[in-house]
């Protein structure tokens, strides 16, 4: 397993949430457990979060990254909203999106400021690697 740190000794702190109405939480829960096993501190917000609840949690928990899971084809609207909300709050926290995201949408999301997009089949290493890269760049 990869080591879940920012590169120094501090463990990564990651918010995991479902934004909006989408209730598919299998993937997010699996990622939460995998990250915990790898030493990442997971703040699991669960279902039906808004950009506000996520920003509040990110500030209070001093999070290194925000991970969103999207399975309802709403990602092109919702993910950029999250990125903008983070900016508007004056925070410098990368937003990472996982789930059912077609390739060309992944490109569009990157252009709109999403730090990384993880598709189906991403391994633990892929997830941790994406978080670490986003945090350090």
């Amino acid at each position: 397993m990869s080591d879940g740190t920012t590169g120094g000794d501090e463990p990564l702190r990651v918010i995991l949430a479902k934004l909006g109405l989408d209730g598919h939480d299998r993937g997010l829960k699996v990622v939460a457990r995998m990250l915990r096993d790898a030493g990442v501190e997971v703040i699991y917000l669960g279902l039906r979060q808004t950009t506000d609840t996520i920003i509040n949690a990110a500030e209070q928990e001093d999070a290194d990254a925000i991970g969103l899971s999207m399975h309802n084809a709403g990602h092109l609207t919702l993910a950029p909203r999250m990125v903008d909300a983070v900016k508007d709050a004056g925070l410098d926290i990368p937003v990472i999106v996982g789930g059912i995201i077609p390739e060309e949408d992944a490109i569009e999301l990157s252009e709109k400021g999403v730090a990384a997009v993880l598709g189906p089949g991403a391994s633990t290493e892929d997830v941790i690697g994406a978080i670490r890269n986003s945090v350090t760049t």
Binding site: G20, L21, V42, R48, G74
Partner: protein, 552 residues
Amino acid sequence: MSDDKGSDDKGSDEARQEWQEAFEKTPQRDVDFETMSGVPVDPLYGEGPYPGQYPFTRGVYPSMYRSRLWTMRMFAGFGTAEDTNGRFKELLRAGGTGLSTAFDMPTLMGRDSDSEWALGEVGRAGVAIDTLADMGDLFADIDLSGVSTSMTINGPAPIIMAMYIATAENSGVERSALAGTIQNDIFKEYQAQKEYIYPPRPSVRLITDLMKYTSAEMPKWHPVSISGYHIREAGSTAAQELAFTLANGFAYVEAAVAAGLDVDDFAPRLSFFFNSHIDFFEEIGKFRAARRIWARWMKERYGAKNTKSMLCRFHTQTAGVSLTAQQPENNIARVAIQALAGALGGSQSLHTDAYDEAMALPTEKSARIALRTQQIVAHETGAANVIDPLGGSPYVEWMTDEMERRAEEIFEHLDALGNGSILEGVYEGIENGYFVGEIADAAYRFERGVNSGRRIIVGVNDFTEGDEGEKNLLRISAEVEEYQLKRLASVKQARDDEAVATALAQVTADAEDPTVNMMPSLIAAVKTMATEEEVVMAMEKVFGTYVERAIV
């Protein structure tokens, strides 16, 4: 409970004779029941319990697919009601025999398209229904007395049911003529799919109200489809899918009996919905065990007298979660194998997934290939010529027993949790996180297997060369949202607001009185063009909302 399988006090010759007579009374399909080499095949091989006989391990009917193939019911819904109406007509032309409706996320959650929560989700994963006007568009020019319609919705199910009834009546079709199914299975929402609105107990009241209403007024309607599909998709094992689903079924039976219904008045209209995953023999064992368990519990525990109350009739859908985004064409093979398992397991209807569904909703072409896949299973493989062709196989019989044994362990746990009531056990298991915990554990075990390479998924963690992905995906344009918002605004503009307010007040008043059936006031409300969300809120004032504890 597994030592008297099927004998049911009948001598085996007598049972065989009875089956033979029942079989001969049923008209056969007009095809040659022979292999492609011309070898004639009997309808049935092996021993009892014979098909159509308690406990129905080998099939719910004496003749199964010898007389009628399963219903090829393809789930569809996207964009506006008019878009989906077009897809419905295309499926009917292509030989589909039943309609199945997917709603978008806001509709499933009881939110209108103009709600803040709906942004970005209108018409994305299904069709958007805000008012009766949309429901009218959805079924325009389709004779509702001539099709059977399945509607996959749960939290706001009674409201959508009210809209369907009103649409039929507007087109001159009596509600008693309507045939179909509404999923209306709230327990698995708390356990797996998470599309709930109200807390469990008021939700169950809505379900029993609908059961009472349909059993009195709509004899061809299935008011609940007890669904393991989503439990499996959320990560459960096959045995958990089986056990949680049937336990939910027992819970609805207990709730309906407590609400004053006689078990034989409603149980014949209960139906089930299972997943057909990729582990072929495990799935077939699961389907066979489901019939046996349901029959035994209905007869022995719930005192059903009518044989129809004991029949576990089910719809099957291939496992969406087994589809891979990598090398997506491989999914056609997966779906074919899963469809064959569904047929060999004795499904009454089947939906086959499209190969591109790991990335997006299916295109017209991929949906057609999926339908063609089950047509190949039905018409080319010969699997439909013989009833329960795997019955008697030592492995399949063992697997059937093993699925049953594992399910019974879970029933024991729930029964103890509910102090002798499965209904209370299910409420408690929702409350204390038992179901979501068990499902998450199983999902994590599976994923670790994939991650470690112990479990091979072709194209994902082995045999990965040659992935070209799939570029030709269905795109839902943002215009759908725009269109739907305009549509909703114009419906609201044209309606009589006073009539809406009066109707909604009646809904709230009826919600406050648990002895009143909600259906009449819901039908009256949707006829005034009250929106789905307005009706949801009128009940929410009384019922409150449900918020899940976030546990990993």
